[in-house]
Amino acid sequence: MTVSLNQYSPVKFSRIYSLGAARGDLVVTNDDVAGPIDSSDEWIRQRTGIETRRRASRELSLMDMAVEASQEAIAKAGIDPKDIGAVLFSTITHPFQTPSAATLLADKIGANPAPAYDISAACAGYCYGIAQADALVRSGMAKYVLVVGGEKLSDFIDPTDRSISFLLGDGAGAAIVGPSDVPGISPTVWGSDGSKWDAVSMTNSLLELRDGSAAWPTLRQEGQTVFRWAVWEMAKVAKQALEVAGVKAEDLSALVTHQANIRIIDELAKQLALPDSVVVAKDIVKTGNTSAASIPLAMHDLLATGKVKSGGLALEIGFGAGLAFGAQVVVLP
């Protein structure tokens, strides 16, 4: 007797339905962070492009920001949270080894009992999430997927660190991905290079903290190594993403890179030889570097301020600790 086994029925296309955003409640100026690193407002602006970064007060948690961003995205998508088939939370600052932040988020936003898990891909996390959401929707495994990139990086910084801490901010961005009649998310170019595992990392492990041999772990980076990789290697990835998407730079409405540092953004844009018609997202100027949250926050800002229109194409590219990277072209929601 032959047994017939059911498999998921795929749908052809997926797209991003909506975005949501939440930023830290504090506006932290360069003057606020310059003292411990013996720097100045001018020095920080010139070298990073940052004028202010948004950070969360002690009372505002990573989960609070994730819930706020998610609820906005769900409302704008006009879907019932019960129809969310998976919750993916990209973060490196959820302060519990387990359980995941995603399961709690799913419960708080009314998506319980959706499958939910965290993605640890640092600044590439949101693009990893969109890649997985696209696959889950098109395979038929989930009707709608909530992707959140959220960080409270201010819990993991050292005010005296000159390599990265002064760049960092807090926030959460959310996207609803669902089925579509037309293509809305290109194939993703993604990967990692663990040979540069130390280039962006924590100062030490939690085990060393436990044993008393090290302090609370905070973020550090080797700026030059990261800069070279983020510009010249990521330019190759960005060009590959355009190629697999079947579009040209002039077809884009926007380039939304991980908001790492204005000089990485500017140099990467230069390497891509973008025409003037392509808007380059620079949310870093006011928000700072929010790791996994930075791409959805920057895209949300472009749409909210009318710099780009729904229906246009955006190349989004995330890159960071791992080193991990991901890029895809999406139709703006």
Partner: protein, 81 residues
């Protein structure tokens, strides 16, 4: 054919000028990139990557921190062409 150190210096000075706007004749062998020419680490890396293209050399990340003076860079490039 390998370039002379003078030729490397002239080419490097052009790259410094493109990145920073600094006059090419300010780029002299005894000058320190950071102390004398006020070139920060990110501009330095841009110059390094452009130098790799221009001179056909490979300058690994771990080597960049050893390039303190213009002479360090000229010698490295000349020796590794």
């Amino acid at each position: 054919m390998a370039l002379s150190k003078d030729e490397v210096l002239a080419g490097l000075a052009e790259l410094v000028n493109e990145e920073t706007g600094l006059a090419a004749d300010a780029v002299q062998m005894d000058k320190s990139f950071s102390e004398d020419l006020d070139i920060d680490s990110i501009s330095m890396m841009t110059i390094v990557v452009n130098a790799e293209d221009k001179f056909g050399v490979k300058i690994p990340d771990e080597e960049v921190k050893n390039l303190v003076t213009v002479a360090d860079a000229v010698n490295y490039i000349a020796d590794n062409q």
